[in-house]
Amino acid sequence: MSNSRIRKGRRGRVSAAVASLAVAGLVLTACSSGDGDDTASDSQDSTESSETQEEAADDSAAEESTTEESGGMGDMCGDDTIRIGISLPLTGDFSQPGQEAQRGYDVWAELTNNAGGLLGRPVELVVLDDASSQEQVVTDYNNLISQEKVPLLLGTFSSLLNFPASTVAENNEMVLIAPAGGSPKIFEPEPKFYFFAQQATAPDQANPFVNMIASLPDDQKPKTAAYVSMDDPFALPVIESMQEQLEAAGVETVYTGIYPEGTTNLQPQAAAIAAQEPDLIAQGSVFEDGISLAKSMVQIGYSPDFMFQTTAPSFGAQYVEGVGEGNENGVFFAVSWSEKAPTEGNAEFVAEYQAQNGEGLVPSEDSANAYVAAEVLQTAVEAVGDCDNPAIADWLRANSVDTILGELSWDDIGRPQGDFLLAQWQNGTVEIVAPEVATTNGGELIVPKPGWQ
């Protein structure tokens, strides 16, 4: 599940001289990449190309024109083109999922415009780069709201960045639908305008795997388990929830370890875990750490009967290449989306993604999640008939939306109410093995995990 590629800034703590110079450089770099030329030019373009919301409200001629075009709807959307503000980590530590998310948004914009637009108007995405910085993402969304005066927002990538972004959205009473950002911490302030556009929040990601374990015959169930996780706002709650549920089911915990964000070498942890010989290893991983643990286990020569990892296995070919072909076989992970899913619009999404990015290229889950966030916003705006953010939030709390992930619905504070999919690498391909309605192979499992290649 690629919900939180949280590889936070890991700048060195060096001597005072080096550190001060480095910080100065970073600040300048961040300013130039995220808040400098791009933003300035975007602002300029915005000023030249469209009126602000307030100006539009005062401009009766424009209102009449808009009303005429949209059949009396969408007055709060501004003139003609509906501009949607997005900040994404296009550079820096989260640039990979950030760029994937942008592809998903672009696919949605293209399909929407080809189908007549939103409320009958073309949509335009105003995308700023937050450089994977929590400070910059706040600046970006403030700029989008106060300078660009976009009537609608879409979320950025990862819990780490959506957390500060959600506070900006709350303060401005603007809906923020996030493609990634299911950490429980985001929902602690009980947001009214933040909605997570996947099936469930982080702790529930463990459920399908736990249910699968519970469904096994007793002689196949793991007796002992090791839990290791990056100290990540998304990955850690998954593993903590899994440990709690499996302990309640009688699986003995023989190892627990939490390592800091940015850790990429897990050889020592692998040695510690292997020494306990657990039947199950569950890891809250992002990517490099997931690769490192699996590779280290191969090198040490310990293969557990069950292996579950968050996020890393969802990287597809990159994961297979990283752990070595064949070593992915039998690894479980939770996902929100599958290219094989028979959900409405999924085939069109995949086709347009490939048209834009290359034939035969399988969209990443991150792209799909961004597409879904935009789908949700589109459905709500069309249902409300305007870019009235409080009305959109109310509508989302009261209704469900059909997406390429399936039907999504939310509680009062924007937490989705569904279930993730459980996937397993099986002989070089990813199969959805649970829940039953979503299986791509009839629910057949590879248990126990085959030995390393």
Binding site: G12, V14, A22, P260, Q267, A271, E288, Q318, G324
Partner: protein
Amino acid sequence: MDLLQVIAFGVLLGGVYALLASGVTLIFGVLDVVNVAQGSFLVFSALFTWQIWSLLGLEPLLLVPVMGLLMFVIGWAIYRGLLVRVAPQGPGMTVLLMFGVAIAMEGVLNIVFGNEFKSVTPPYFTSSFKIGEIVIPYPQMISGVLAVVVLGGIYVYLRKSWAGRALRASAQNKDGAALVGISATKASSLAFGIGAMTAGVGGVLLAIMYPVYPATQYDWIARLLGIIVLGGMGSIPGAIIASMLLGISESIASAYVPQWAPVFFYGAILVILLFRPHGLLGEKTREDVAA
């Protein structure tokens, strides 16, 4: 768990760190330039290694001299083309310049290679052997051996060759060296080239040991700066000792108290700098290098 196993992992990791940090500290020792682009040099080398390996299927270790030479040339060109013009403005400007180089390289790599993780996976990349009960992964072992070879080569070059002596002389006293016919610009470009060359060699090994993508540079430059500060900026032996300290402390902490692993190393830097502001071997080794 066997403490010896954990320490063995730490020593091997330290060897990798030593190889990667030696270039940064050499450049600082001679040029007074903190090369914050060394991480991007590493990633550049790693991604080119991946490209050649995936296209031709060559044994990646054969690319060690190729990438070393390529990075030497690139480093030399960066010094001659950019740094030599900015260096008179002082260390602050050179740091900013190298930040610019790092960001530009990341952008170019992003465009050329895409924003995906790349791994070089020769048959031995997940293999290991045992000494008694201690597991030694081949990639880390190879890195350790190469680190010894490269660092030993640099040491011999600096001490025995005329160019190495000239380089050390220039590091000690540029004006004095110039009086005896040593060009500071040539010595500095040579030092920068050698520093970049270590990144070329390290990048090949990096691609075998870890998945790499353009932004990976940030992970590495932070560690490398920590190492050269602890070891004493400009001191190659200091960087080796600091690398071992980081590798072993990181390994032990990761095995027993993983959440606190970074505190051990960076805490050690703080404490040591309180008592030795120039790092472990800062003064002594700079005298050695310049002797």
